[in-house]
Amino acid sequence: MVLTGAEILIQSLKKEGVEYLFGYPGGAVLHIYDCLDQQDDIRHILVRHEQGATHAADGYARATGKPGCVLVTSGPGATNAVTGIATAYMDSVPMVVITGQVPTPLIGNDAFQEVDSVGITRPCVKHNFLVKSVDELAGTIKRAFYLASSGRPGPVVIDIPKDVTAHKAEFKYPSKIDIRSYKPVTRGHPGQIKKAVKLLLSAERPMIYTGGGVIWSNAAKLLTELAGILGYPVTNTLMGLGGYPATDRQFVGMLGMHGTYEANMGMHQSDVLLAVGARFDDRVTGNIEKFCPDARIIHIDIDPSSISKNVKVDIPIVGSISDVLAEMIRVLKETKRKPKDAELKVWWQQIEEWRAMDCLKYDRETTQVIKPQYVVEELYNVTEGDAIITSDVGQHQMWAAQYYKFDRPYQWINSGGLGTMGFGMPAAMGAQFAYPQQTVACITGEGSIQMCIQELSTCLQYSLPLKIVSLNNGYLGMVRQWQEFFYQGRYAMSYMESLPDFVKLAESYGHIGMRIENKADVVPAMQEAMQQKDRLVFMDFMTDPEENVYPMIPAGGGQNEMILV
């Protein structure tokens, strides 16, 4: 079948099972848009800014585990998408981004809307391609989807010049793929796994520390099974929340800079640490010199470069988390050795003592102000813990992570690595498209929400009934907190003056707006919002302006050096 490049692109996306294409048209992609318009299988979602398209595709990917797909034009279309691509890259999100390019004869001529998209995105993609001929197009798309979703996932950019979308070629979508220079390992080394199990069973003060890899590898059930057999405490990174049920007794909360006392103390005093699909990020380790001083460390990761990058480990296992955990469980079930019950009992007593400190306590009694933590807790109650939660970046993100208890993977969607403000609402759009019947709430702040506020218009166009929970404290809260702690309270530029009236703003976009100023109104407002099944509701909660996120490990501190409330 002879097709144009644009037709080949659409047919190839169909073969890859793409349901939604988040994008924005422009000169270089007009042939593609013309083709899109003449078919019904792939639904194109028109955003209001290309950053919104990438975050929406990212949110779709994080909610489903399937690659998100983006289509933008050349030049500014591509540069606007870069923040979203970098966001996906830092959190290992599978994504395929198609950028239009000026026609091949014009490349390098500083043509209208020309930018070196491959060059600009090179450091923040898993891989990228410039398609120079229509003959390469189908094969390139196949490779892009394979690369994006296999191994350690990540975004892949395909830059397609306009003339390539007009040229014709015989269309045959490759059924198999073999890239000689790319062979991700899946099965872990059996010898290493045996060694790891032996070490695990010798533990007296064990910790299981897991990250986003558990989610991407679809290994949450296996992790729960493994932890169940061992009876060891489990902590999750910010990216790993939902990988282990937060309401389970063995769960000690998130670790790291704003992690719980019991998680961080448990890490610090552990003698054996099992790290699963986590990368020892600086927000997790604190001062690397003081990190887990007594622990022998087992690290499972699909990316060899994550192993011993920040922290030297004793037993590295390269492989897919699900394969390795399944094998570990098998070995554990075969062995006659059992975990050290007596020592574990003492260890759990210690952990319970730490837990009893109740490090996430806050003034629950006050009626004077709305505490932001209270809003998140009540959101958890009102949604019965079942909503998909996205967040932006800052204090509200940490409160969402601390107070909403995520029991399942793909439920918690946030920009952890890059820390991209403006991520929350478009990501929620992507999640809502994936799960139209689910409650999708975006926990945000008055600072972050304004970074992609234009997507309220997209939400109207596609009737997305998002629930936006804005913790409005009139400050860039996390910046203000650091200024309070480390800059003697000099609040340089962290005050959000001249805020819009968010109620009117929501209404002008055709949605429902609510301003909640009294604590007594928090729950009724949420209940009312949840009843609006087919409307977006923007809830603007006027929260305590100077509340801080606790506990906190200050930069350079060890895990046991937390500032508590």
Binding site: R122, H127, S181, S305
Partner: protein
């Protein structure tokens, strides 16, 4: 420590910039870099000289392996290997006594004079980086007009080979 990393990579446009970009983005240094296609035109062979602690070199090799276009690599300095670099050097050889002196030095270093003019010699010297440094060292600094070095290339000794 100094390491010589030998890389087989897809002979595609952009592959070189991925390697160079990786080094600048992660703050690794490149002392020298040489690259050319192999007997298989789809593959290029790159030789990269860098410095770093064992941990840094381990990260460098892992990060390089992670690049999709890198097919295979070895750290030549981990085993017995041969290292060669070629230098073209143009020197002032106007006066009769310097002319003879330079010719003698070229012979001692087993180099060749490739081009002669009334005032200059253009010399080719091949060897390890140290040998080339030594040759530059014995010349009078004022004599040197131009130096071109290829960057190090290398290969493992014995049967060990970097092939696909």
């Amino acid at each position: 420590m100094r390491h010589i990393i030998s890389i087989l990579l897809e002979n595609e446009s952009g592959a070189l910039s991925r390697v160079a970009g990786l080094f600048s983005a992660r703050g690794y240094n490149i002392e020298s870099l040489s690259v050319a296609p192999t007997d298989d035109p789809t593959l290029a062979r790159m030789t990269l000289v860098t410095h770093g602690t064992d941990e840094i070199i381990e990260q460098i090799t892992k990060q390089l392996n992670k690049l999709i276009e890198v097919v295979k690599l070895i750290d030549l300095t981990e085993g017995a290997h041969i290292e060669r670099e070629m230098m073209l050097i143009k020197v002032d050889a106007g006066a009769r006594d310097t002319r003879e002196e330079v010719k003698r030095l070229v012979d001692i270093f087993r180099g060749r004079v490739l081009d002669v003019s009334g005032k200059t010699y253009t010399i080719e010297i091949t060897g390890s980086g140290q040998k080339l440094d030594a040759f530059i060292g014995v010349l009078n600094k004022k004599q040197i007009i131009e130096v071109v070095r290829s960057g190090v290339t290398g290969i493992a000794r014995g049967e060990k080979a970097l092939t696909i």
